[in-house]
């Protein structure tokens, strides 16, 4: 057995009290394409950043060709033979391609030949990067990395937003590294790509390496099993929804009906119905189009295609205010996006409703106070209403974000990962609030990156993969393994049939053309 080209052992990285990596290890042999796998938040990206020199680990050793590897910056890592390509291309937007190559000291001739290999035979190198379509920039970024001939090439989700024909080229080029004297660390959410190019896979869970799997037939099962580990049930799952409610749902008009929504390369074809009185979960791995979906529903972006109907009437939102008027309110993951941090809790809660509260231009503070107090009461926000929002804990801030809409009697709430980084007690309160909202006839759409939340808060869940709805799962079946398999687009209990996967890839090509046009347009 050959000694590993890249040998990482016991890497840990803490951010304050949060451990991003506890004990990550990975060993990659020469000529190997090695997959790095893990659920959201398992620490893949942190490990890549450590290896790329962007983050300094607390502990751990990194050996390249048997010699200790220390990099304090991406430039040093590159000189040491480790280069990373990210989902977002690392090209300076205001510089032309030649200058970008000079910046990273990339030789031009090998760059050109790799570019040709990747399907772009002719490119004017004096083009300013920002004027090129995103897909082209991603390929340029990869060609630049290849031209340096790094010992270790890391690809972090680089195929996630690439059109199918380019993905195929990229996989071919990566596959050609097998048997060479160099190696590739490959991160992708698409198991079919892992199966196509990778020899082995290292699986991370909660910042620790939990296993190394030879990639062959049936290895998907083992990878998924490793990613899940022993699922500890932290909170009791909800009991199945009562049948009467389900029957009522089917007979009523959906609050939101989305039909074939499209946007860019990420969101390809998403349809679903959201009924009054239910919490509908949205499950997706990172970057599967859920961000774009919520941007469209909340009125921040216009879709490239598809239809949206609210309460049975077709709508086209040009501004978040349009969505709010139609009764759709948005709770983002990033509290700073939703709140005026320097203002008081009272003002933040009252802000979206000042228009109806106004009488002759002055704010009716009596009505305002009653509504705000009622909202604070419902939410058990642990504070006085006059204190500044930025002084509250993250959990209380998120409660304010929700409270502001509850104060006005919300009809439809769009929650995008509302419990990110919040303690378990507050999480439970937010779930209960969402349940209460649904109980009072409101409709809630909930995207969450934590799969176990689905069973705690939702009535059913739709799973999005590659910008399409791939499954709808009732709450009683929505345990974590089922959801994770669905999120990776694996059928419930059988290995993935090859033809299904092939169809999935083939359908992506046409959407790519549309994306190119949009990028030039902006």
């Amino acid at each position: 057995m050959t000694s590993p080209l890249l040998d990482v052992t016991g890497v840990a990285k803490h951010y304050g009290a949060v451990a991003a990596l506890r004990a990550a290890s990975i060993a990659v042999r020469p000529g190997e394409v090695h997959a790095l796998m893990g659920a959201n938040g398992a620490g893949k990206s942190t490990l890549v950043k450590v290896l790329a020199g962007a983050v300094r680990p607390d502990t751990g050793t990194i050996l390249v060709r048997g010699k200790p590897f220390v990099a304090h910056s991406p430039g040093e890592a590159r000189r040491g033979g480790i280069v990373s390509v990210y989902q977002e291309p690392s090209l300076v937007p205001d510089l032309d391609i030649t200058s970008n190559l000079r910046l990273t000291r990339t030789p031009i001739d090998p760059f050109r030949s790799w570019l040709a290999e990747l399907g772009i035979p002719r490119l004017d190198l004096s083009t300013v990067a920002r004027t090129l379509p995103l897909a082209t920039l991603r390929v340029i970024d990869l060609a630049r990395a290849l031209a340096i001939e790094p010992t270790v090439l890391m690809l972090d989700e680089m195929t996630a937003a690439l059109p199918a024909d380019l993905t195929e080229r990229v996989l071919e080029v990566i596959g050609a590294h097998r048997g060479s004297d160099r190696c590739v660390v490959f991160i992708s959410h698409r198991l079919i790509e892992i199966a196509a190019v990778c020899d082995r896979a290292t699986v991370l869970r909660e910042g620790e390496t939990v296993g190394v799997v030879d990639v062959n037939e049936g290895s998907e099962e083992r990878i998924v099993a490793l990613m899940l580990g022993d699922i500890v049930k932290g909170m009791p799952a909800r009991t199945s929804p009562d049948r009467a409610a389900t029957a009522a749902r089917v007979s009523s008009v959906p609050r939101i009906r989305a039909s074939s929504l499209r946007s860019g390369t990420k969101l390809r074809d998403v349809s679903f119905d959201l009924y009054p009185g239910e919490v509908l979960g949205v499950v997706a791995l990172e970057g599967q189009g859920q961000d774009e979906l919520f941007d469209i529903l909340s009125g921040s972006e216009r879709p490239d295609g598809g239809e949206l109907a609210v309460d049975g009437a077709a709508v086209a939102f040009g501004h978040p205010a349009d969505a709010i008027r139609a009764g759709l309110v948005y709770v983002p993951a990033d509290r700073a996006e939703a709140l005026l941090m320097q203002r008081s809790v009272r003002e933040n809660i009252a802000l979206p409703f000042t228009a109806p509260l106004r009488s002759w231009g002055l704010i009716d503070t009596g009505v305002e106070r009653r509504r705000v107090d009622a909202a604070i009461d419902t939410l058990q926000i642990d504070t006085r209403a006059t204190s500044e929002v930025r002084r509250l804990s993250g959990g209380n801030q998120q409660k304010v974000t929700v409270a502001r809409w509850v104060a006005g009697g919300v009809r439809t709430m769009l929650c995008f990962d509302p419990t990110r980084g919040i303690d378990i007690g507050t999480k439970r309160q937010i779930y209960e609030l969402l349940r209460d909202l649904a109980g009072s006839g409101a409709a809630v759409l909930l995207y969450t990156s934590e799969l176990k939340e689905i069973q705690l808060a939702c009535d059913r869940a739709v799973v999005i993969f590659g910008g399409r709805v791939v499954a709808e799962i009732a709450v009683e079946d929505a345990d974590e393994p089922t959801l994770l398999r669905a999120a990776y687009d694996l059928p419930p209990d059988a290995p993935m049939p090859e033809d299904v996967a092939a169809n999935d890839l083939a359908g992506m090509a046409d959407a790519a053309v549309a994306d190119t046009a949009t990028v030039i347009g902006t």
Partner: protein, 334 residues
């Protein structure tokens, strides 16, 4: 024929193509040149006596502002902004005036070198504070503008000092022809000597890179903090040049900072430097300074109330930049 051109064109562009390409990339600067020519013609039209002497005056008056604009352009291209430009110019101006007073002509050479170093150092101090404390550029440089203004009063609390004769002669009068002011030649030489090698170097690329997108620059291997400090140091260097231009043109130092900070920002905006960083050069801002100076001259010729003329200058600034963005938007749509 066309096929052959096509094949060659992909690797080695022809001369015509190179020129049209250059024109496309420097569209804004070329438009400014045309605007400047228009203003010169207009000035001659309304004031037929406008001649070589006035041109020399224009160049001398524009020199410190143009150097301030170059100073500001460098730091804005790298994604920052420096509100202490005026104070740094005052500090370097009085330092040079005090040191040159009653000294030999030869010693003045030492003073010039010393003051240039002083400029580099105070600029680097600005940059280091920003990088180390992570306080926003605008806050740090605003605070430092008070610090440098105070330091200026320590050096010289009333207008005074002096300047060597060769130093004053450097920017007065003309060279070769009456129409070519020395001040203009000094400006072109100084900027050329510093900017052209910089623009072609790794450092120049890094300046544009950190201004355009810091994360990408970092991932590309640029030392963002170091580059930022160097950008501010270069700004300090050009402020020192500007400060000495003030001393040379007046023959003395004045401890009261001129309105150079705001004028430099106005000039770079008109000169096509994006306040968001990463875009622009120094030729545009320099031409913009001359345009703004000519506007002032023209308004005097037209006997416009001086109080109202600043209103017109402001309006022109907004108008031209707005016009430019409208054109850019049209191009994108087309």
């Amino acid at each position: 024929m066309s096929a052959a051109v096509d094949v060659v064109g992909s690797t080695r562009p022809g001369l015509a193509e190179t020129i049209s390409d250059w024109g496309r990339r420097n569209r804004w600067t070329l438009a400014l040149v045309a605007l400047l020519a228009g203003f010169l013609a207009f000035t001659k039209l309304i004031g037929p006596s406008y001649g070589p002497v006035q041109i020399q005056g224009l160049a001398i008056g524009a020199l410190p502002i143009a150097l301030a604009a170059v100073a500001q352009a460098i730091v804005v291209i790298s994604g920052g902004i420096d509100l202490s430009v005026g104070s740094m110019m005052a500090l370097t101006s009085v330092t040079s005036a005090v040191l040159m007073k009653d000294q030999s002509e030869g010693f003045a050479v030492v003073v010039v070198v010393g003051v240039l170093l002083l400029g580099l150092v105070i600029g680097a101090i600005n940059g280091s504070i920003i990088v180390v404390t992570r306080v926003p550029d605008i806050v740090v440089t605003l605070a430092m503008s008070f610090v440098w203004a105070g330091a200026t009063l320590f050096v010289l609390d009333t207008p005074g000092g002096g300047a060597a004769d060769w130093f004053k002669g450097l920017i007065s009068g003309s060279i070769v022809s009456d129409w070519i002011p020395r001040a203009l030649i000094v400006l072109v030489l100084v900027c050329g000597v510093v900017w052209i090698p910089l623009r072609r170097s790794m450092l120049g690329l890094s300046l544009y890179a950190i201004g355009s997108n810091r994360l990408v620059a970092f991932r590309s291997g640029v030392d963002v903090g170091r580059t930022k400090i160097i950008a501010y140091a270069l700004t300090g260097l050009f402020c020192a040049l500007g400060g000495m231009a003030v001393t040379a043109s007046t023959g003395a130092g004045s401890p009261v900072p001129g309105a150079y900070t705001l004028q430099s920002v106005a000039a770079i905006v008109l000169g096509g430097v994006s306040l968001a960083g990463g875009r622009g050069g120094i030729v545009g801002p320099i031409i913009a300074v001359f345009i703004l100076q000519l506007v002032r001259t023209d308004l005097t010729f037209l006997e416009v109330n001086p109080n109202f003329s600043t209103v017109i200058q402001g309006a022109i600034l907004i108008g031209v930049v707005l016009f430019g963005s409208v054109l850019a938007m049209r191009r994108v749509r087309a």
